[in-house]
């Protein structure tokens, strides 16, 4: 797998590019405190594609904003460790932070129309991204922008450089965003639902491009999405989030073939999959709704929707290792990971 090759290519396999331990994000809201992210652990290796997957409100976007230092001012961020290639992101000054942002870690947002400045030409914005961080001539910046626009598949790039964001279609704008993120050759790109607003044909093209570039430049990517189809096709590793926690991490293969957390299993069962689900049959929906994160959540956050829950689930489950590099936050993780105890056909998607 590409996962293997990209990890081998890294210079220091012992230390991950980004390591996050016990990250918490709290937001004051009218009714109290919203615990948007409740102590999550994950790491990103150099050059790998990590997918953060979860439903709306599970804290995946808050996590990405916390990493970029773009959280709302009133948000409170705590962590045992938030380390980006030797830099402690918790104590770093705002000045150093803005030197990192764009240069070493870049972000691609869901809606490129709101992320691009409507009043400047694309060439202007692309060049600014580079010249903010590096001492290069206008000409050099222009050349690099032109090269990247061509590289992301934009024809008539010279002409596009003089255009404004509104003159482009959604797919082209997202290509420009990718080019912009690559201007300084960052080590890490955080892509927050970059293809959700696009048509399926355009989505396939953008994902193809992102995967190509990621492998060519050896950039690590945190890809945030709610679409399990996308996850299956592009991820090296996956972290599944639920109610502000990472509840399962595994390689893409392991997660889809042997999910061990009841929530992951439920998610995989409830999407109609061609040739696996009978058309017109009832889908196995997950009953109930996500708990409110405004108050303290006691025990397992998923227990009120879970088929396997018993009295043990009133206590917070630890993150358990079910296989090599496969962690699950469930009291029953070992039982559920063992195909003998569950209907293997239901789980194997």
């Amino acid at each position: 797998m590409s996962n293997q090759s990209s990890v081998e290519r890294s210079t220091a396999p012992a230390s991950p590019l980004l390591s996050v331990k016990q990250l918490r994000v709290d937001l004051p809201v009218a009714k109290g405190t919203l615990h948007a992210v409740r102590g999550i652990d994950f790491h990103v290796e150099r050059g790998e594609m990590l997918c953060l997957v979860g439903e709306s409100g599970c804290g995946k976007s808050m996590t990405s904003l916390a990493l970029m230092g773009l959280l709302p001012r009133k948000a409170q961020i705590n962590a045992d460790c938030l380390n980006f290639d030797g830099v402690d992101l918790l104590t770093v000054s705002e000045h150093e932070r803005s030197n990192l942002r764009g240069a070493r870690m870049a972000m691609i947002f869901q809606e490129p129309m709101t992320a691009l400045n409507p009043a400047y030409t694309l060439g202007n914005q692309l060049c600014e991204a580079l010249r903010r961080h590096q001492l290069v001539s206008r000409k050099a910046a222009h050349d690099r922008a032109l090269y990247l626009l061509k590289r992301v598949g934009i024809s008539a790039a010279e002409e596009r450089m003089r255009q404004y964001p509104h003159q482009l279609s959604g797919g082209l704008r997202q290509r420009v965003m990718i080019a912009m993120a690559l201007m300084c050759e960052p080590d890490l790109i955080i892509a927050d639902e970059p293809t959700t607003a696009l048509d399926v044909t355009i989505q396939a093209q953008i994902l193809h491009l992102l995967r190509d570039l990621q492998q060519e430049f050896g950039t690590a990517v945190i890809f945030i999405t709610h679409d399990l189809g996308v996850v299956a096709r592009i991820a090296d590793r996956v972290a599944v989030m639920y109610a502000g926690e990472v509840i399962e991490t595994a390689s893409a293969q392991a997660l889809f073939h042997a999910p061990s957390h009841p929530y992951t299993q439920g998610l995989l069962r409830c999407i109609p999959t061609p040739s696996k689900t009978l058309p017109g049959s009832r889908l196995q929906a997950i009953p109930g709704v996500v708990p409110s994160l405004v108050d303290k959540v006691e025990g397992c956050a998923f227990c009120n929707r879970c088929d396997h829950a018993d009295e043990r689930c009133y206590s917070t489950p630890p993150l358990q290792t079910v296989a090599d590099r496969h962690l699950s936050r469930c009291h029953f993780a070992h039982q559920l990971a063992n195909p003998a105890t569950i209907n293997a056909q239901e789980v194997t998607l």
């Binding site: 797919g171 048509d199 109609p272 889908l283 009953p287």
Partner: protein
């Protein structure tokens, strides 16, 4: 009902050469441009079936839905519901037969009304029953869509997206329509909730004998729900057939590309390189000949000169034709 009577039933929905043209711009210095949002669309939907309608954004799916609902008049052509043309039908009479469920349950419900008022509004407008009878009907309907009794006194703001979509479904079905236009009903919902709503739609279809026109860009969902499928590109239907015909043997290169770009949750397959080029061309200046030819991987010189017609695929059996099952495709080389 005997099977013979059923066979003679008029189609639930029939579109005859339906078109909608918009005039854009125009002024002292600019010439106005015409946009053919829907261009000569003919479609027959038998009673009790789910017709899926797929295509990229801007292909005219929603304009088509608006014409069916009587929200915008067609520029040409006819819409027949239960065999009757709706062109001059009054909006109130039409609303008894056809109801919409929209994509965004956050903006389609009045935030300042209680759920009971929202769901009961159609009954009040049509003057059906006393207010007591209406309240009973609303309660029944909320129960059918799986909402608790107390939901009746809540406001939309107190509900989750899935619950709101249930309210929208209850409102659509309280008049017991024959035909429901579902315009991306689950694309604003999370996957775990999407499954609940799809199950509900399937249950209610059997319960009330509904016919759905199901508009979606999610091919997995359409494959799960639809009996038949129509694929639209730049205002025209380019292929139509049963679910099996479309998903197992798509004829049109656009349908093939659309199916190839659907990402199923199967790890290790990677992202397909569909080679479609950039997005749709400007719909105000559609390409000559076949509208798909600039993006088509198998285009020939004739494709840019001559527009293909949507014609029945030859191999379809006589029986299939009689049952309205014939497949149609608009491509010179299909």
């Amino acid at each position: 009902m005997s099977s013979v009577a059923h066979h003679l039933d008029p189609l639930a929905l029939e579109l005859c050469a339906l078109s909608k043209t918009f005039k854009l711009g125009g002024g002292m210095l600019h010439k106005s441009r015409t946009l053919k949002a829907v261009n000569d669309v003919s479609l027959r939907v038998p009673r009790g079936q789910v017709m899926g309608l797929v295509g990229e954004s801007g292909c005219g799916k929603s304009t088509l839905a608006k014409m069916l609902l009587g929200l915008t008049p067609p520029s040409a052509g006819d819409v027949l519901i239960n065999g009757k043309a709706i062109v001059n039908a009054n909006q109130k009479a039409l609303a008894r037969h056809i109801q919409p469920i929209f994509q965004d349950p956050y903006s389609s419900l009045n935030p300042r009304q209680r759920i009971a008022q929202i769901v009961g509004l159609p009954l009040r407008i049509h003057g059906i029953g006393t207010s007591k009878e209406q309240a009973v009907k609303v309660e029944e309907m909320l129960d059918m869509v799986g909402l608790p009794k107390r939901a009746a006194q809540q406001y939309p703001g107190q509900m989750s997206g899935g619950q709101r979509q249930r309210v929208a479904i209850a409102r659509a079905l309280i008049m017991r329509p024959d035909l429901v236009i579902c315009d991306e009903p689950t694309s604003a919902l999370d996957v775990s909730v999407q499954a609940q709503i799809l199950n509900l739609l399937l249950d209610l279809k059997d319960e009330f004998g509904l016919t759905y026109l199901f508009i979606s860009h999610d091919l997995a969902v359409v494959e799960h729900l639809a009996d038949r499928l129509a694929v639209m590109y730049l205002g025209q239907i380019v292929e139509e057939g049963t679910r099996e015909q479309i998903f197992t043997a798509p004829r049109h290169p656009y349908t093939q590309a659309l199916l190839a770009s659907a990402l199923t949750p199967e790890p290790g397959l990677g992202v397909p390189d569909i080679g479609l080029g950039a997005g749709q061309p400007d719909p105000t200046q559609p390409p000559s000949g076949c509208a798909f030819h600039p993006r088509c991987p198998v285009a020939q010189p004739t494709c840019s000169q001559q527009a293909p017609t949507l014609s029945a695929i030859a191999q379809t059996s006589d029986q299939a034709t009689r049952q309205g099952n014939q497949a149609r495709v608009a491509c010179h080389f299909a």
